[in-house]
């Protein structure tokens, strides 16, 4: 299935914020998590996650830190902030409203709400 470019773009911010809400992470790991969560349906060009993460940082939704893990190379870690959690909660409300509306006009298609966890 091909997911529309605009939809991918729109879902990127809440997805990344939600993943970071589970704990700090870095670009490559976030991307892997997105792939796993969407069963490979949500495909980004790998590099694009970095401009997105930088934007979240400018907006104050995440903080960053360069660290060198014991076994490896220097790496940039991203941690969500309170502002980021607030933005995530806001995004969740918006997506639930959208999916609820879609669910209502597409009776029987099922699953949209359950997928979003009926927040």
């Amino acid at each position: 299935m091909h997911i529309d470019k605009d939809l991918v773009a729109a879902s990127a911010t809440p997805l990344v914020l939600a993943i970071l809400a589970d704990g700090e992470s870095y670009g490559y790991a976030i991307l892997k998590r997105v792939r796993a969560l969407s069963a490979g349906e949500l495909v980004w060009t790998d590099g694009m996650i970095y401009p997105l993460l930088h934007r979240l940082r400018r907006l104050g939704y995440v903080t960053t830190e360069w660290r060198t893990p014991p076994e490896g190379r220097r790496r940039k870690y991203y941690t969500i902030t309170d502002d980021g959690r607030a933005a995530l909660a806001d995004q969740q409300r918006q997506w639930v409203a959208v999916s609820r509306a879609l669910n209502d006009v597409w009776p029987g298609s099922g699953g949209v709400l359950t997928a979003l966890g009926e927040a």
């Binding site: 060009t45 790998d46 590099g47 190379r73």
Partner: protein, 445 residues
């Protein structure tokens, strides 16, 4: 594995060259690339295969660099604006177009000069209209460069047409003070009118507004540089030609206005095609701020000790308007040149000291001034100076508050930038008020 390292090094050099991508970004992307390669190798691919696939997955560099540029517009804000697809602009591009506009503007000014018989005569209409002989050409220059559609061309032209009507149809009195005020404020109004085509009509975009602030600062620097060079050239020419008996003044009255006007367009083109001054100017700016902070803090102490009541004359409010304007200019330009993602630095603290000292000084002067106006009543000059002072005061107070919060890490630089970009229209509206509304209110006196 050595060949892999050299491949990665080559890739690094290639990516680092892309506009909008800086060293830290490359580090981050390289980490990603290595991760991906390691995983692919673990899945059984050879090192070369892994490298190729990992590079491919990162995405094509043009698109990636464009995304980085969009986010970090300060890094290469101009490539974004000059070309649709963010292709890097070269200094050579558009010089012919620039020349045409510069010459046209120079011709317009010379025509006006001849019609007015300047510099022997200096009719008021020439002074009032001065900016109207220059800035429309700059606006048209940008409208053309940004390839605006017809509707936006009309919207670009509208403020200039309105301004021309206002300054020429109002029945100005003899020795009118408002006429002088209009001559001072009209360039500001028209400069904001230039912002419209500069931003390609996207006046609501805060990023574009910041770009325009940056453009203004850069343009000013280039213009001053050109003016200095031109001044030296003129002086030397005059000194050389003087013994030959050539009438140097006649030459100057042709060269000087044409050069001054043409430089407006040329400086804009220089900013468009090569805006690296920001980085070179940043250390100078730091020094300036430090000196300003010292001077202002000292002055605030002196004023507080001696009181302002004594030596108070009518020039003082104007002086303080100029002071606040300079501080604001430094704050704005410093902000537009700053990397927004960095943490507070000592530079931000110094800036705050300068702004707060300027504010304290201004409040003291303003109190005395309002008392004076209470005694003597309003004149157009006082109204304009007081209004400007208040507009600046509110802006700097907001900026000081937000940057104090930023310094104590309770707020983001982003908020501060938003405050400034949101406030920009207030300046435009105030200047337009002085041009359009104040003269009839004061009966054109």
């Amino acid at each position: 594995m050595d060949s892999m390292e050299s491949q990665i090094a080559e890739w690094r050099a290639y990516v680092a060259n892309a506009p909008g991508v800086n060293g830290h970004d490359v580090d981050e992307l390289e980490d990603h690339l290595r991760h991906q390669i390691a995983e692919l190798n673990a899945a059984g691919l050879t090192a070369d295969e892994g490298f190729l696939i990992a590079v491919k997955r990162l995405g094509d560099l043009d698109g990636l660099s464009r995304e980085f540029a969009r986010e970090h517009s300060g890094r290469l804000w101009k490539q974004l604006l000059s070309g649709d697809e963010g292709e890097p602009a070269h200094l050579s591009s558009g010089w012919f177009e620039t020349l045409v506009f510069a010459v046209t503007a120079a011709v317009a000014v010379q025509a006006a000069r001849l019609a007015a018989d300047a510099p022997d005569e200096e009719p008021n209409w020439l002074v009032r209209n001065a900016s109207l002989f220059v800035l429309p050409f700059l606006a048209a220059y940008f409208a053309r460069r940004r390839q605006l559609d017809t509707r936006r061309w009309v919207l670009t032209a509208a403020p200039f047409a309105l301004a021309a009507l206002v300054v020429n149809l109002y029945p100005w009195g003899a020795d009118s003070a408002t006429e002088v005020l209009v001559a001072l404020h009209l360039p500001v109004v028209l400069w904001f009118a230039v912002a419209y085509p500069y931003m390609g009509g996207m006046v609501r975009s805060h990023e574009r507004r910041m770009d325009f602030v940056r453009f203004t600062g850069e343009w000013f620097i280039y213009y001053v540089l050109i003016a200095l060079g031109g001044g030296v050239l003129m002086g030397l020419t005059a000194a050389i030609l003087d013994p030959t008996g050539v009438d140097v003044d006649r030459i100057a009255e042709w060269v000087l206005p044409s050069g001054a006007v043409g430089a407006v367009i040329v400086a804009a083109w220089l900013v468009e095609s090569k805006q690296r001054v920001v980085e070179n100017m940043a250390p100078v700016l730091t020094m300036l701020f430090t000196l300003f902070a010292v001077m202002l803090a000292g002055a605030a102490v002196v004023y507080a000790v001696t009181g302002v009541g004594g030596a108070f004359d009518r020039e003082l409010l104007g002086t303080f308007d100029a002071l606040l304007l300079v501080v604001l200019g430094l704050v704005l330009y410093g902000m537009s040149a700053r990397d927004p993602s960095t943490s507070p630095e000592w530079m931000d603290a110094i800036q705050l000291v300068a702004v707060v000292s300027a504010l304290v000084l201004d409040v003291m002067v303003l109190g005395a001034m309002i008392a004076r106006i209470g005694d003597l009543g309003f004149t157009p000059n006082r109204t304009a100076a007081l209004g400007l002072n208040l507009v600046l005061l509110v802006n700097l107070a907001g900026a000081a508050w937000l940057s104090a919060r930023f310094l104590t890490r309770r707020s983001r630089l982003h908020r501060l930038e938003r405050w400034q970009t949101t406030y920009l229209p207030v300046f435009a509206v105030w200047a337009a008020t002085v041009v359009v509304i104040l003269p009839p209110l004061s009966a054109f006196s």
